[in-house]
Amino acid sequence: MVETSYYLVLAAIIFTVGATGVLLRRNALIIFMCIEMMLNSVNLTLIALARQWGNLEGQIFVFMIMAVAAAEVAVGLAILIANVRHRQSINIDEINLLKW
């Protein structure tokens, strides 16, 4: 059996890659995808820990995260479309009306 810590380290790496993507990429759609990747790395963490503890709560949590991720995409894409109608672009560098 593969040790739990391997899964945790892999998940941490995927999470970091996703977070780096969110910070560095400028295309809003790619940023969405990076956020999805981060959520999936959390799912991997939960599954690995659920196996280690031998209970189902972690697995149930994963289903909840999947449902939330789906809802988040629906809301996010709607907001993105509304934004594109105003400025014909999904580059987040051009979202700059509000500033201090």
Binding site: L8, F15, G18, A19, V22, A28, I31, F32, I35, M38, L39, S41, V42, T45, L46, L49, Q52, W53, N55, E57, G58, I60, F61, M64, I65, V68, A71, E72, V75, G76, A78, I79, L80, A82, N83, H86, R87, I92, I95, L97, L98, K99, W100
Partner: protein, 488 residues
């Protein structure tokens, strides 16, 4: 599982259930209405549903705390936070009525989302389980992303929604990663179970600190702690002002309630490790919030930075980490609900006067007291209360929080808090001075504009808020007894 278990103690969630049924009724009524009519009816219905929710909370007020299915609890703290959120919800609906054109077309969607946000926020205060906590956080966050972009004709509103969504979803992933690690540390998603496992030397204690750090990022974003606050002024300024008013109070109350319960029931044995980082965040949040508020020209942005500073004050209560501190935080949030929503309501009324779309510049407030004596007087009361001048509500909120912190041995933190209050008085009083003692620059054309009467519901909100701020200030003991802390 026995199905009878589903109904045992379900009364814990009575207010949430009332609102959930109400949301469905609201959507049905919306389907039934014809064309442009009936958005007033929807507003009335939403207020009625929220009042029923308040009634349901009052009904279960005195009972001994019981837990529902290992996921939610109805102790005094949960009920106090619920009350704050429901009041913010009622006032928010009243303000939204008539405010923007989109509401005439899509009132059903707007009010349903408003109520869903209230449900999520209330659940946050009752959650005793990581899964429930996460779901509650997402329910209200998703609703608020949409609400802040509801003024679709306005590019700033859409932009605010976009920023709020991208950063909010990003912060949520940190939050849920923290939850996953805590689950790994304690082997359960139940707060009390996590505490038991870790306190008896079991579990994986090495996962606790990374878990807390990640949770802190998620919570810090929701309550806008420095350095996770960059979204706050943009979203507060861009979102429709009634939504900003509701959101500024609701998210703070909900996220603080959830954070309090998590830290104090799941991780009290790690208080030594998490108190100091939180204290540093509190100092940063108060200082940066107040200093940046000093140089804002927009009233809404100034209020956003003032909200950040207030989040720092409430965080002091969490650093203290006692039951008395949690009831002080509940009192603070209760007082903050009225004074902050009141300030935003006056801002809405002034927006109408100056014909400005969704914001007021502070420079335009010069001489406002002459033109709108009542509005100016109300604004002055809210500003004095926000800056914490006795005997108004805001003073006693700060007083109770600082007192609890001193008793828990955090005197140095309180000193910094008091110094920050002194700084904050400068920008709150600047508005009062501008309204009462300055003359408008182009007096001619300002005076020619006709007076636009404020809508009846916003007049009502201002009156209620002024009364509440004064009454809470004059009778603080009464309310401090009513609003309970954790485990009370």
């Amino acid at each position: 599982m026995d199905t009878a278990l589903l109904f045992d103690n379900a009364v814990v969630l009575l207010p949430e259930l009332v609102l959930a049924v109400g949301v469905m009724v609201l959507m049905m009524v919306d389907i039934g209405r014809r064309g442009q009519n009936g958005s007033q009816l929807l507003a009335g219905l939403s207020v009625a549903i929220l009042l029923l929710g308040i009634g349901a909370s009052v009904m279960i007020w005195g009972r001994a705390p019981v837990e529902y299915l290992d996921g939610a609890i109805s102790d005094g703290f949960a009920l106090s936070v619920r009350l704050v959120i429901l009041i913010a919800g009622v006032l928010g609906v009243l303000l939204s009525r008539n405010w923007f054109p989109a509401i005439e077309r899509q009132g059903g969607a707007f009010y349903s989302l408003h109520l869903l946000a209230v449900i999520g926020m209330m659940l946050m205060g009752t959650a005793t389980n990581l899964i429930v906590l996460f779901i509650a956080l997402e329910i209200f966050s998703l609703a608020l992303y949409i609400l802040s972009g509801f003024y679709r004709e306005n590019a700033r509103s859409i932009e605010a929604a976009m920023k709020y969504f991208l950063l909010g979803a990003f912060a949520s992933t940190f939050f849920v990663y923290g939850c996953a690690l805590l689950y790994g540390a304690g082997g359960s998603s139940k707060f009390t179970q996590i505490h038991e496992t870790l306190a008896t030397g079991g579990g994986n204690p090495s996962l606790v600190l990374p878990g807390i750090a990640l949770l802190l990022v998620g919570f810090g974003f929701k309550v806008s702690l420095v350095p996770f606050h960059m979204w706050t002024p943009d979203v507060y300024q861009g979102a429709p002002t009634p939504v900003t008013a509701f959101m500024s109070v609701g998210t703070k109350a909900a996220a603080f309630a959830g954070f309090f319960r998590l830290m104090m029931t799941a991780l009290p044995s790690f208080h030594d490790q998490w108190a100091m980082p939180l204290a540093i965040l509190a100092v940063l949040t108060m200082t940066v919030g107040n200093l940046t508020a000093l140089r804002q020209s927009s009233v809404k942005r100034m209020l956003a930075y003032s909200g950040i500073a207030h989040a720092g004050n409430i965080l002091i209560a969490l650093v203290a980490g006692t039951a008395a501190a949690s009831s002080a935080a509940a009192f603070y949030l209760f007082a903050y609900a009225f004074m902050n929503i009141g300030a935003f309501t006056v801002t809405i009324a002034l927006e109408r006067q100056y014909g400005n779309e969704n914001d007021v510049e502070q420079s335009r407030l010069a001489g406002a007291a002459e033109r709108f004596p009542v509005l100016a007087a109300a604004m002055a009361i809210f500003m004095l209360s926000l800056s914490g001048i006795p005997p108004l509500a805001g003073f006693f909120g700060k007083f109770l929080v600082f007192k609890a912190a001193v008793e828990a041995g955090w005197a140095w933190l309180v000193v910094i808090g008091v110094l920050n209050s002194a700084v904050s008085a400068y920008y709150y009083l600047r508005i009062v001075v501008a309204m009462y003692f300055q003359q408008p620059e182009q007096a001619g054309d300002e005076k020619e504009q006709p007076f636009v009467p404020a809508s009846r519901s916003s007049v009502f909100v201002v009156v209620v808020s002024v009364l509440a701020v004064v009454v809470i200030g004059l009778q603080p003991g009464l309310w401090a007894d009513l609003l309970r802390g954790l485990g009370q």
